[in-house]
Symmetry: C2
Subunit: 347 residues, 2 copies
């Protein structure tokens, strides 16, 4: 009864191989290969016999072996920060769409904003010999990628630039977006504007803060330290920041938020507040138009980010060898009400 496994026991689940198919069809190994790959040079009759054997045995070509022989895996890795963040959904899909159109599969994983985990994941992908990598970096030092890139792994960074290496990157215009969002609030009469952003480790967080400061400076407005809060996007910290900005002796009359998670928390916090406070959020959020007032946002085009990055990656894989460069995707301010509220009466 016992199926005699020779030494250990590879052969996956005892799947038939081309050899088995060849034996059953009474042809040579290579002929089976030709049929499977629709290569020319096989008589219709022989082809039919081989095909029957394939169907009868339930043979399916082992791409692992194929990859080993051919040197290309037809798969790319996508490392993002959190698979569950709605901002990355459209990006993920756009990348998948492009990969699919190039016949490649997508392997992905989350770094959870942890540089070590990012590196571990990226190197695991390299060990699988993905043809290319699209990375939303969590860390600031990507020199560990140098040997990989030199060995031919095409690499494109998205949303944030690479650290300490020269690589392609596709970024949103964080600085410009934050600046125009802030200017929008200033234009509506606000002079004390708060900024609540993500951790200063994160490139986009810093850029957005810079944009905010630039707009304030341009308007000749001071920025009080108590109006700026950077840190994790955990709801309780953000909530606390909102409360302290509003309870201060010189309370802010408007807030600029640094990303979608912060925006959502701030909307909640402001709903519980008595005076209206203006709000402009970075990243669009679903249903923002249905709230009262609608949430004015600086929308990023996540799908374009992903598509652009993936297209650049495949252009590299097709041999494009021009110097690495950065593409900046513009943002768009969508006015819905919350950013157009006038300053509420002072204390």
């Amino acid at each position: 009864m016992a199926d005699t496994a020779r030494h250990s026991e590879p052969r996956y689940g005892n799947r038939p191989t081309m050899k088995d198919v060849a034996a059953r069809a009474g042809v040579g190994l290579k002929t089976v290969s030709r049929v499977v790959n629709a290569e020319p040079g096989v008589t219709p009759d022989t082809e039919r016999r081989v095909q029957e054997a394939i169907d009868a045995l339930g043979f399916r070509r082992n791409d692992s072996a194929r990859v080993l022989r051919k040197g290309r895996t037809a798969s790319i890795g996508l490392v993002l920060e959190d698979l569950a963040d709605p901002f990355y959904g459209p990006l993920n899909r756009a990348v998948e769409e492009v990969a699919r159109s190039h016949g490649a599969l997508l392997i992905n994983g989350s770094s959870a904003e942890d540089p070590d985990r990012e590196q571990e994941l990226v190197l695991a992908l390299c060990a699988r010999r993905v043809d290319g990598l699209i990375i939303i970096p969590a860390g600031h030092d990507h020199r560990y990628l140098e040997p990989e890139i030199k060995a031919g792994v095409a690499t494109v960074f998205v949303d944030r630039p690479a650290g300490k290496i020269d690589a392609d990157a596709v970024l949103s215009d964080s600085f410009g977006g934050a600046r125009s969002g802030t200017a929008h609030l200033v234009a509506h009469g606000h002079r004390r504007i708060g900024f609540i952003g993500d951790q200063p480790r994160i490139h986009t967080a810093v850029e957005r803060l810079r944009g905010y400061r630039a707009a304030m400076a341009h308007a000749g407005l001071p920025v009080d330290d108590s109006w700026v809060s950077l840190g994790t996007t955990a709801p309780d910290r953000v909530h606390e920041a909102v409360v302290s900005m509003l309870k201060a002796p010189e309370p802010v009359t408007a807030i600029l938020t640094g990303n979608n998670r912060v925006t959502v928390t701030v909307v909640r916090a402001l709903a519980a507040h008595d005076r209206p406070v203006a709000l402009v959020g970075f990243d669009d959020i679903e249903l923002a138009d249905l709230l009262d007032p609608g949430v004015t946002v600086i929308a990023q085009d996540a799908a374009t980010l992903g598509r652009t990055a993936a297209e650049r990656l495949f252009r590299r894989l097709d041999g494009a060898a021009d110097a690495p460069n950065q593409v900046v995707v513009p943002t768009r301010l969508i006015a819905r009400g919350s950013g157009e509220l006038p300053p509420s009466a002072d204390r």
Copy 2:
């Protein structure tokens, strides 16, 4: 100058192999393998020499080759409907988390609700010899998977059951959720309740419709054909359905929606309507609590779905051989206002 590539040109980007490392370190091939895999039986001195060669050459083990030899790829495939749908984000992440804890990578793709594309994707994953599959099925016939399952590919279906084969499945309680949502509306005095759901090809859509009908029947209420709309979740179709239900001679006073995308569209449509209409939505949506009124929903626990499925998958991979079974994850009704509105005055 020209690097003489012997025949074609495999060797990825001319990456060093264990052979190269061995030559440089002046040791045998297998010794390098031992060092790389931290196997016992290597003198510290030899190990150091090998390690130096590894670092100098920038060697990284080729897992493709390893996989071929070992028979396990330590990767699983996740096929879902749309990577960008916020409902699948937490599910995706939960699966990834479990995979990660088992040292496996996640390959994923979208079926776009197209059975052919689902099959194509699944078979591509099988050709890569993923160890297991987690599938949110788009099609209704999965007999094409039989040879794969027989060959040892562990397979778990999520959100919707497998078609025509006996396989593990982890489902939400669509029927019970829709029934309790409908009963909730009935309890608040509604007698004419509409249902707007997804395409009847989709299992959950049918189950939810069944739950709705069951609750109506249980309450002794008739269901007029014009109150039920099944089809794509495209906003214009859904919008049209809302309008026609509200403009009918016997207009509905409440609506039950079949999924998150429908709910969002209906919220928009109702906002433009003059009379208040009660609403209960299937699936929770972000910010639902901030709308006015808050949106009452039947919440599904997508993360639990994903985690449960992934855990079952790995239990199978670890050898669990009990009969395939179905797990049903309960839903939870979250009352926020929209589902508690009384029927508005008749015409």
